[in-house]
């Protein structure tokens, strides 16, 4: 119980004045049927930084991530309470159009999931359905710049008509990132984007994250503490549906304030 208190004390960490909060969540509870998956999570996501969500399996970190673009809506038995605001707009307000929300908050999934269409079509699909391109050359420009930002352009520029599913796992995941950023989102959510990739492909994605955070706010769920330490500026540690601790990544890994965090980052629970 007193741990709860210490959590709420650390929660009042005042963000440094030059960083704006992009997403702020307050008292978010998520239920799958009768089972509570998240308990009173309040977390601020800073703009143009990488925020890592870490914790053991089943701790609710992916659930929280999927709340941020309302991907949980797809699940019939899922219920969300509390408030999540994207720049002062409550994303769970009844008048919010979930399709527009997802255009602003893009997502990259655990397993690379390109559409079974050409590389070009994969990237062009989002801009097409949102009417972002006025002409064909416009669309080609968007595809090229998205692939460049996902550092995939050099590898695929001569075979845009080939199926996206024919690429290697790492390339497919970068294609998914290109697809996500092609609709010009403000936030990119990544759900363990490297868990299906080999170390070299992982390293490339991590480099990419560093470049992307100049333009986008990134929230990444990861199993790997080393990865969280390498790529993120802020870290939040979840355990059994609770947000145990959050703060500067460096502080979480070097001087955790909670016993459970310290047990996790040192590998005693996992």
């Amino acid at each position: 119980m007193n741990m709860q208190v210490s959590v709420s004390e650390t929660m009042v960490s005042i963000p440094s004045p030059d960083i704006d909060t992009k997403i702020s969540s307050r008292d978010v509870n998520v239920f799958y049927g009768d089972k509570q998956a998240l308990k009173d999570v309040s977390l601020d996501i800073p703009e143009k930084q990488v925020t890592a969500l870490i914790g053991p399996s089943g701790c609710g970190k992916s659930t929280f991530l999927r709340c941020l673009n309302r991907m949980n809506d797809v699940i019939d038995i899922c219920r969300v309470t509390g408030s999540i605001k994207l720049e002062d707009q409550d994303i769970y307000a009844p008048e919010v159009d979930v399709v527009r929300l997802r255009a602003h908050v893009g997502m990259v999934f655990q397993k690379p999931n390109p559409f079974p269409k050409s590389i070009f079509e994969n990237v062009a699909y989002g801009p097409k359905i949102h009417g972002l391109a006025k002409s064909k050359s416009d669309l080609e420009g968007i595809v090229e710049s998205s692939l460049k930002r996902a550092s995939l352009w050099d590898e695929v520029s001569d075979r845009l008509d080939e199926p996206g599913t024919g690429l290697s796992g790492g390339q497919q995941q970068r294609l998914c990132i290109a697809r996500a950023i092609a609709v010009e989102p403000q936030v990119v959510l990544m759900d363990e984007p490297c868990s299906a990739l080999d170390p070299i492909a992982t390293a490339r994605i991590e480099e990419l994250l560093d470049e992307l955070r100049e333009k986008y706010t990134i929230v990444i769920v990861t199993h790997s503490m080393q990865q969280a330490a390498r790529v993120s500026q802020k870290t939040a540690f979840f355990h059994l549906g609770e947000l145990v601790e959050k703060g500067e990544t460096q502080k979480i890994f070097t001087a955790p304030g909670d016993e459970r965090t310290s047990n996790y980052v040192t590998g005693r629970i996992g």
Binding site: N69, R102, A103, V108, N113, F115, P116, G166, C176
Partner: protein, 425 residues
Amino acid sequence: MTDLVTTTDRWLKRRHASEWRFRAYGAAAIVVSLAFLVLMVASITMGGYPAFERHSIGLKITFDEKVIDPQGTRMRDQLMAANYTKLVRSSLRDHFPDVSGRRDKRKLNKIVSSDAGYELRDLVLGNPDIIGTTSQVWITAAADSELYLKGYVDKNLPQNQRRLDDLQIGWLDTLTANGQIKSHFNTEFLLSGDSREPELAGIMGALLGSFYTLVVCFVLSFPIGTLAAIYLEEYAPKSRLNRLIEVNINNLAAVPSIVFGLLGLAILLNTFGLPRSTPLVGGMVLALMTLPTIIIASRASLRAVPPSIREAALGVGASKTQTTFHHVAPLAMPGMLTGAIIGMAQALGETAPLLMIGMVAFIVDLPTGVTDAATALPVQIFLWADSPERGFVEKTSAAIIMLLTFLVIMNLSAVLLRRKMETRW
């Protein structure tokens, strides 16, 4: 040292023996089922292939102007109404001048088809200049002559137990010896409608009837079936009602087809007064029957689309409908089409519901649309199998060959279609 080679071990021997036994059982099962299939196909082919051959008798016909057009007007009405059968009969008497007595003359007339007069009429209408000349014309042999020429008549039987007596056989033998009988491929069988005379009966009417019925069936059941499947699978909440609907669709797939026929009779014919015996009603009834098949197959193929594709589309901000129609439905389409084609193949072979709505009628004219009275292939088989004339036996088998051919073509196209669409990527 561990011994991995010696097989003296009792358990090892037993295990090998049981594995060998199981393989032998499996192979035996395949051999037996193949044997039945070969037996069936062989017996039908043996019975049916003679139907694709027919014989014509070449007669010197004198197109006597006095009989055809005594006034010499060459009016179409006159040419239509003339007594051409008389020409055939006098020609036959010229060939066999020593036949006398009414009974023998009648027997002689019976070796050619009763349709012979119409064949001459068509010839004259096509070329009126032929009147007044004499020329060799090939005339369809009667069904009984056909049977003899194909070797089905046993000459050793007493005369009164066979369809042709010794005189008629003698005439046919004479004609054969004179080269006045020729056999050729039976295009009429493929191109004409049904008839009471076995030598004139064709399959085209039933083929067209089946075709129109299937068109109506597909047009109704494919859109309704796939849309129902898409709604149930992608949109409908997983509620008790939805589960109830699912159970009932599965039950519907197991309802005997004759029940659908009765439904068609009671509702479509009696309540709504739609035209009886038509492919329109037949197609509607068969659509009811194929709907569950299509819905079940479509739902299965929608379920087989990985959820990651739906997430990917939703993740870039596609709406539910965009996700479904841009990504999920196209990926499920091969499975849906396969289900539809298999449903159509089922419908093609269905007889019972068509009997109930009157597509069992004897219809000579070829149907020209979905509201014309028609019959269908399996019903035609049923009708011919029921006919007493010996000549219909081979027609029945031939019709079965046609039906099986179309079934194989449809199933094959389902396989090819699926393979083609699936290897797109």
